[in-house]
Amino acid sequence: MRILVLADHDLGRLSPATARAIAAAVRLGGQVHVLVAGDGVSGIAREAGSLVGVGRVLVADDPALGDAPAEALTELLETLADDYSHIVGISAAVGRDVMPRLAARLDIQPVTDITEILGPDRFVRPVYAGNALQTVVSPQPRQVLTLRASAFAPAGKSEPAEIESVSAPAAEGLARFIAAHRTVSDAPDLATARVVVAGGVALGSRENFAMIEQLAAMLGGAVGATRAAVDAGYAPNDWQVGQTGKVVAPDLYIGIGISGALQHQAGMSGAKTIVAVNIDPEAPLMKLADYAYKGDLFEAMPALIAALKA
């Protein structure tokens, strides 16, 4: 058995999720190789090679792979697939985009968003916004999977693994990348953060949402938002936590002015400790929380920030 993990990376750095996916892939029980595909990714390949469990790093360094196009990444993975029993992506934008396309090309039914590995062909994955957990058995000759990074602990550092260059097939040019609109933030990666401070639509404006960012920065945490807060334009889309956004499992989650719709809970109920601040004690998140504080966020937030500064 040999396992190939597609590394996630951005701005020249390996994503924190990749170290978690590698540690999880080791549990599938085979030799783990990592594919780093992109434009100017040799540094990322070295970073990937220094993680425990990585037997070899394959590098596809090609301008055509620069923006992680699903079509070209799929073609590349298709050329490598014969050597592997498992091809594993991360349940994030790139993995979700590429892995099902690859599976269809290989005539495989994929199993995605896996939160627990019970064996090489036996997995647990949430369905219905996390309201049910399915144990899935996949008796297929090859597996195409994605893993939910926040459900697994990261791999540590080790001796560097061998790095091998692979070449990407000439791209078909089906789709052309035009532009990236990035959210600029110093906050840590939301999907794998140990502290998340999240705000709801009750914040009332983009300006008020800055209080969430301020508290997150003070606690060294990432910033999250509900769908309603993103829809209202108070927070960028990549901060959305929930069934259809990012799924987080921090040690500490602080939800401010969040009622806690089931779809939001699907993205954060794996948090170790939940603190909720809401004017409505009957809000679902207040019921879910380990610590619930009933109060007006416009009084509580400035006072909390001031008190923590003191």
């Binding site: 994503s15 099902p100 058995v137 996949s138 789709a175 990549d238």
Partner: protein
């Protein structure tokens, strides 16, 4: 252009789900069903493209039991022109669904296929990508904007770092995210009108597609429940709690 939209009937997203005590699945008897929310965004996007003069026909396809014709009626009431129900009582995996949709595409020859990015039952997020892979067409997943530019489309996608923009030649597959649009509500007259639109019900066997499942579901369980929480008595307790939890985090 001609647009094909796929729409799925699912347990309504507002229903409080119940897992069957014997672990065999979730309770569906007597449970309210409706169109998957993401599929609604896909239908709405197609209708807006038609209203803007970019599309001349919208065909909507659903795969499921005969009750799934309700989902097609909703889509027709929103503005789709024609419905096809591929009728089956089987639970078909996403590979089988993608294959059936490929067969529908081969018949209909659309320029653009629109789907929801995921259905809120299986939460798979597969079908659009798999269909695009089978067809060898370009794909743009998690779309929050679609603009027609000549004989191509410019799609904005919601990705991990924010948004990205892509230009896709047609034919192409696009999957809808939540911020693509606000789906319209359908008033009664539109629903009555929709009943007059063509709706073909065709048995799944007619398509001659292998839909045998590859996976087995061993067990469906409820997620672990969290312990009871506590209400903080006052603001000072909130500050002390956050301070304590944050300090514990720093010590790790």
């Amino acid at each position: 252009m001609k647009i094909l939209v796929a729409a799925k009937r699912v347990i309504d997203h507002n229903v409080r789900l119940r897992v069957k005590p014997d672990g065999s699945g979730v309770e569906t008897a007597g449970v309210r069903m409706s169109m998957n929310p993401f599929c609604k965004h896909a239908v709405e996007a197609a209708v807006r493209l038609k209203e803007a003069g970019h599309a001349d026909e919208i065909v909507v396809v659903s795969i499921g039991p005969k009750q799934a014709s309700d989902v097609l009626l909703t889509a027709l009431a929103m503005g789709a022109d024609r419905g096809i129900l591929i009728e089956t009582d089987a639970a078909i995996e996403t590979l089988g669904i993608a294959r059936l949709l490929r067969a529908a595409v081969a018949e209909e020859k659309p320029d653009l296929v629109l789907l929801g990015k995921q259905s809120v039952d299986g939460d798979n997020n597969h079908t659009g990508q798999m269909l695009a892979g089978l067809l060898g067409w370009p794909q743009a997943t998690f779309a929050s904007a679609i603009l027609v530019e000549g004989d191509a489309i410019r799609v904005t996608r919601e990705v991990d770092y924010g948004r990205s923009e892509h230009l896709l030649g047609l034919p192409a597959v696009v999957t809808a995210d939540l911020r693509l649009n606000t789906p319209r509500n359908t008033a009664l007259p539109a629903v009555m009108q929709a009943r007059k639109k063509p709706l073909a019900i065709r048995p799944v066997a007619e398509f001659g597609v292998d839909i045998a499942p590859r996976l087995t579901i061993d067990k469906t369980a409820s997620p672990p429940t969290r312990g009871a929480g506590q209400t903080l008595a006052g603001f000072d307790e909130l500050v002390a709690t956050v301070r304590r939890l944050a300090a514990a985090e720093e010590d790790r």
